[in-house]
Symmetry: C2
Subunit: 521 residues, 2 copies
């Protein structure tokens, strides 16, 4: 890019804003394949002068909306039901208290930098450009989150004698068998109608490499799965590679239903990130910028339309009567399971949309362990082991490597039935149940655990769930404002459960409000 062109684009930015720059760079073929990071609305300075917005919820979406609107001169107030900002972005440390309907837990972790648990969102994919853009702009330092660890385990109680199998072997052997079978079919001429002669030859060569086949196109195991004996690698001299797992047993196990392909799903693709020191570094960065706008412990009681805009009736803790706040617009980020029970003036269409959104009964259970046995004994550094039990996953912390204790995510559940089962237990029962299941993945598990804490999102005040179930998502209905009330949060986007959704939902509302204001000027 020549200096002249760069200067032109910089000048354009000053005059027409980041979006125009972005569109121009795209037109000039300069913006690359991903979206440029600077995706924030960047409203013209002062465009909100004299206008007021009340924002319901100081989660990531609400704070994003307040940050962008306030920058443009809007008078913003955030009503936050709890005493903390962040919403579902929740990092817990020793001494923290977790409130649930009918339960209260104190986090008994040691107070050390690396002993924390992200009980809400825990990872940021590389293509979540809006939240990453704020991380960059706010100086939130990132480190890699390891999703895909080939040393982690697959466990199915009915298969392989109920013993966990190393991911590296499951992946290598599955690819090996697929490659061998397809090579046979091609070599037998079974796919002559599908492939040209040239492609037939090339595909067999490809399969040999894809699957690690021998020169006869047979899969006999591969050094990709590691070597037998103590060492995983070759060490001083090549030994015998691991024998392949049995194909029928691999097919009977549930690994391939989706677990085996996990890293190929777009939001699980490497590279993923997490803020250093806990996901709530993002909350702290936003909160530092909008704190004067937040009224904490202020529960929304009514959402009303008025001739001039909106009126929100709310109760602030410690006050013996409700208060009300009037504004030109509202941005409502309250999760649907909570929102549907708040008296409101919504249209029937909006009410139906809110009612239709069902939230996932997500549960996370975190344990402090006396040593990092997964690193010491199994060479597992970060990543996820899978089991067919209700705990679903065990996450090994991708932080604090090699230190003397660790916080293990002993369960991450997002299916309705096991989520309900664990949610219905009291906190002590949850820990016992998760330990019993974990023991089948890691014999000796119970003795390693020092303390634990759980978060059942469906039982969480002012949340009542993890995120909108994909099967029930109808985000577009809430992408339109209902009179002066705009909706935000991950629930109005195609990215439920992700902070990127929370930010994009806020951007949508912010842009729409500003367009309305501009149109009347």
């Amino acid at each position: 890019m020549s200096m002249t062109r760069r200067n032109f684009i910089q000048s354009l930015g000053a005059v027409a804003g980041v979006e125009a720059v972005h569109r121009t760079m795209q037109a000039l073929g300069l913006s690359g394949m991903g979206e440029a990071l600077a995706a924030a609305p960047d409203l013209p300075s002062g465009s909100g002068q004299g206008k007021s917005v009340v924002i319901l919820g100081a989660g990531v979406s609400g704070m994003t909306a307040a940050y962008e609107l306030a920058k443009a001169g809007y008078r913003c107030t955030i009503l936050e039901a709890t005493s903390r900002a962040g919403g579902r972005n929740l990092t817990v440390r020793g001494g923290d208290v977790i409130e649930e309907f009918g339960g209260r837990q104190r986090v008994e972790f040691d107070r050390r930098d690396h002993l924390y648990a992200n009980l809400g969102p825990a990872r940021i994919p590389y293509h979540h450009r809006a939240i990453l853009g704020y991380c960059r702009d706010f100086g939130v330092e990132l480190e890699v989150f390891t999703n895909d660890n080939r040393a982690a385990l697959f466990h199915n109680r009915e298969r392989f004698g109920g013993k966990p199998v190393v991911a590296r072997q499951v992946l290598t052997d599955t690819r090996g068998y697929i490659a061998e079978l397809l090579a046979k079919a091609v070599n037998q001429g079974a796919l002559d109608g599908e492939l040209t002669g040239e492609d037939r030859e090339r595909i067999v060569d490809m399969l040999v490499r894809f699957g690690g086949l021998n020169p006869d196109h047979i899969y006999k195991g591969s050094n990709r799965s590691g070597y037998q004996g103590e060492k995983i690698h070759e060490g001083l001299k090549a030994g015998d590679v691991n024998s392949p797992l049995d194909l029928s047993e691999l097919l009977k196990a549930d690994f391939w239903h989706y677990k085996l392909h996990y890293s190929h799903f777009l939001n699980a693709n490497p590279t993923l990130f997490q803020p250093i020191g806990g996901m709530d570094a993002i909350v702290k960065a936003f909160e530092a910028r909008v704190r004067p706008l937040i009224r904490y412990r202020s529960v929304t009681k009514e959402i009303r339309k008025t001739p001039e805009g909106v009126r929100i009736v709310y109760r602030q803790a410690g006050r013996d009567a409700d208060d009300a706040i009037d504004a030109d617009f509202a941005v409502c980020t309250i999760p649907a399971p909570v929102l549907k029970d708040i008296p409101n003036d919504f249209s029937p269409e909006t009410r139906a949309a809110i009612e239709s959104i069902e939230f996932v009964n997500a549960v996370k259970i975190a344990f402090q362990t006396r040593r990092r046995f997964w690193e010491d004994d199994h060479a597992i550094y970060g990543g996820i082991s899978w089991t067919d039990q209700d705990i679903t996953q065990i996450w090994y912390p991708p932080y604090g490597y090699h230190r003397d204790k660790g916080i293990l995510m002993g369960a991450y559940i997002w299916s309705q039935k096991p989520g309900t089962r664990f949610g219905d237990m009291n906190p002590a029962e949850r820990l016992r149940a998760a330990i019993a299941e974990g023991e089948r993945v890691h014999p000796g598990y119970a003795a390693e655990i020092e303390s634990g804490v759980s978060r059942a999102w469906a039982r969480t005040p002012f949340q009542k769930g993890g995120w909108p179930r994909s099967a029930h998502k109808s985000p577009e209905a809430l992408q339109r404002p209902d009179g002066p009330i705009h909706f935000a949060g991950d629930q109005v986007t195609g990215l439920p459960g992700w902070q990127e959704g929370a930010v994009l939902g806020a951007h949508l509302a912010v842009r729409a409000i500003n367009e309305r204001v501009m149109a009347t000027k």
Copy 2:
């Protein structure tokens, strides 16, 4: 594990050492699937009293040997030819000087924490337990090295119009086509002889999930490869997924030769690590422990056997005559291409083994860029892009994310012909050639680059190469001592080019020397 058992094992450790603990834990089924971290020799204290060892080379292998032997009471001297420790473990920063036969480069990087390049080893796989054990014991802090980044690029000048293709798409589409073809073959009964009826049904279900096939078992593209348009992900609402790449073109490209399967190779498997701040954190940690034992700028001139042991003739810089040092044993870590030309008393067998080891002409070229365009424009955070040009790879730094400049590895070459081609250029020519090739992967590349530096290992004094070529490796011949001379370094192991090999080679020599000493006591 009960407290009693734990206490027993701890007591055993005190009495019998780490190895006994390790063996006992294995016998009790407690040590897990990976090898326990504590793999160092842990020689009985004082066992080397009165014995001397001269160690040739202060690389990772030489310093490991000195550290372990000195701990056990051996009198150690390390002769190091250059003025720095570390050998091929080389991290460069602004102001450093790189010496080559016939050339000298000054590193012009800005002096900032995140602007460094690892021109030697750059990653540590999770199963390299010996080097990881030292990192833990020495407090070398680690962060994840991203090898496998689905946003990185595959580039082949002859395919897809010479335009780079995103890894995510190549992987998704390749799996899709393989799954579709195998499902067809199975459904047509072409593999009835290979699979039971049950397995046939299950494997088709598996292929649907493996490849992202539609309900008719056809691959029509998948959201795993991302969505068309600006955003990679769904954003506010699901759009159209990317169209599949053409199968014939995928087969004609060289991607599948090995690049596409790279993360499945054992030493490229996630999780991989790097020390925070540069790979030479490992060098500094060892050097801090053995510095008094090192004689820097001391070039080995002769390796002789004497009736009592060994005599090493060497020349220290600034001295006008050779010196000699006598010892009971030597540990020789000098790379074969250098060692073969040092006058010695080796047996014919040893000489032949040394002569047979051919080193790779590895070349690395690092650029400082004015901005992190790969992150800003392409959402590429760390990882590797591949090209069929001589530069082979472009590495995006897996550190310093979101900061304002970056160090790009603009070439990592390990094939003989391109390595020789680049090695034969002068440093300025190398940079120009690497920029010209990089420009085809990232149009606009040249304008982003501020300065560059290269390291051609074959032209490096006292190294003369990157590491032993696998095809020529005969490590076992040098695993036996030649009289009082033991060999170490990665060249005596099945892990050439890896620091784990350097450490394991040192451990082998250390254990063997100590066994000999013990046998005579």
